[in-house]
Amino acid sequence: MLTASATLLSTMAMAIQRFPKPEFESAYTQPQTQIPLPRGEFLAYLDVFVLFASLCLITWLVLKKRSRFWVFFMSLFSLAYFGFYREGCICSIGAIQNVSLALFDHSFVIPLSVIAFFLLPLVFTLFYGRTFCAGVCPFGAFQDLFAFKPQALGSRLNTVLGIIPYLYLGLAVLFAATGTDFIICRYDPFVGIFRFNASFGMFLFAGILLLSGVFIARPYCRFLCPYGVLLNWTSRFSRKHLSITPKECIQCRLCEHSCPYDAIDVPVTTKSPETRPAMVKKMMMLTILVPFLVLIFGYTGSRLQETFAGVDSRVKLAKEVLALSKMQDAGNKMQDDSYEIKAFKASGKTESQVYSEASAVLKKFYVGGWLFGGFIGLAIALMTGGRMLPVYRTDYVTNKGRCFSCARCTDYCPVKS
């Protein structure tokens, strides 16, 4: 009869040969242990090739063919390949985390295919605008399908909600660089749909995004996507961005309401009545505002180090070990050990090792908190400053940073090339 013993069951699996290997008298042959092979390695490079080819094709479709019809079909292909076939993983958005971790942790291996997924869309965007968003990114393709009744949101709401991607990007880099968590992957709404297998929360999040996407087109792209921040910056300096008109704008106003994403900048022909003293005052305000916001937000970020670090498993373990030793010192009756404590006791680590690991993590979050806060402060200050600048524009142009190059507006323009 087997008797159960609590201490025996809490030890780690050890290969103790309690029973000798049998010698079989019959003709029995022992079966081989088999482990299924993972996906072939070369297929990762196939993905990179498909990405490169897709980027070339979509750029040509957007800039040369200027056809909404073909861009739409290209996005369906990307949804099928990068979305449902590859099940949304590997992706350029998540690659930000791998790059962050690889820069700060030298033992972390970043495959070349992941570097390619991070860089290729950025390089194409740097020259040709956000064609990646138009027809290659499966998230964008998915949301584009649901943009039935897009509403104009107004520039103030767009600016305020536009802070959220900066927060997401900052937190993603912070948590990835400290080796704590990959939050972009964890809070990815659409990968569950691509896999046909997700928790209820994930499906709910995806459902909310897609349904609200009927009225607020591309909600993830505009107000959540962290990679979109990088694409926004690179797209602003693009050499050849999608333009509404193939030649010159005749101010016919036909394209004014054609963009579902509020990415068309309309002409502003009344010269701003700002006088020189007023402009100098604005400049002075900005000179004070930028460092002030950077410092305030940076300081707040550093004060949040315990909140942020509390998510890390090493810090959580240290807190548990500390609580346990305090209870032991006070002579209190011990409750059942959690699995973390059981594993810690069996691992042979000392308490001081656990504490020093946790304090190293906390220190990283102190520095990281300053940088994260400063980054957010700078972003808010510059966004505010950008709204103060005087604007003079004669033509209808795409906003180079925010335009997804979906080519809807090209159908409205009567000018022929």
Partner: protein, 222 residues
């Protein structure tokens, strides 16, 4: 150059391009410390390239998640934390280590009197662990993979009262190879790590057979 704005744009574009180039250089070359490899990372001249664990050497190779049975404490989180349901972690039987016992520590619940196939006597909640009589007194134990949920109850029993031949392993025909493994994040003993894709198993043995000899079934799983 037509005008000042375009000139500035071109300058910024060049700057961003240079920054991206430096970033990729840093990522690709950061761990190429000449002292750590006697062949200067020319893997074609080295006979141990398959088993090399230097970050630069496995950089180009794809990696997959695997769990180390030596660290596993059979907490049961493999069954509940995987993004796939049922989990991609399944019990794997290292037949070479098995004692073929009648009174199997991983099959029967402790304290069982009658050694039959009644469900109330079995540790496995899904009847994935099956046994077949071979000859007296030996039984062969196999796992029906499609039923195993990776709860680790049989592994716990086998390691406590047997040879430890039943071990939890990530099965890569089911594992999605997530960027961050949800199970790995919640493993109390940090048993999960990334291993090269051409050596995806960490099955324990008694030391007289190397894990590399474990044959791999199936071909490329696209």
């Amino acid at each position: 150059m037509p005008n000042r704005r375009e000139f500035l744009n071109t300058l910024m574009r060049g700057g961003i391009l240079a920054a991206l180039g430096m970033l990729s250089g840093a990522l690709v070359f950061r761990s190429r410390d000449k002292n750590s490899c006697s062949y200067g990372f020319d893997c074609s001249r080295c006979s141990k390239s398959e088993s090399c664990s230097l970050p630069a050497a496995i950089e180009a190779r794809q990696t997959v998640w695997q769990l180390d049975p030596a660290k596993c404490i059979q907490c049961g989180r493999c069954a509940t934390n995987c993004v796939m349901s049922p989990s991609a972690v399944k019990c794997t039987h290292a037949f070479a280590m098995c004692g073929y016992c009648d009174l199997c520590g991983g099959y029967f619940k402790p304290g069982t009197k009658a050694l039959d196939t009644a469900a109330e006597h079995m540790l496995c909640p899904t009847n994935a662990l099956r046994r077949k009589f071979i000859e007296d007194p030996f039984f062969e134990y196999t796992i029906a993979e499609e039923l195993c949920i990776g709860c680790g109850k049989c592994v716990k029993g086998c390691s406590a009262f047997g040879n430890g031949s039943l071990q939890l392993q990530v099965h890569h025909d089911r594992c999605k190879n997530c960027n961050e493994c949800s199970i790995a994040r919640n493993c109390p003993s940090q048993a999960f790590s990334r291993v090269p894709a051409n050596k995806p198993s960490l099955l324990k043995t008694f030391g007289n057979e190397s894990p590399a000899k474990v044959p791999q079934k199936g071909g490329v799983n696209a």
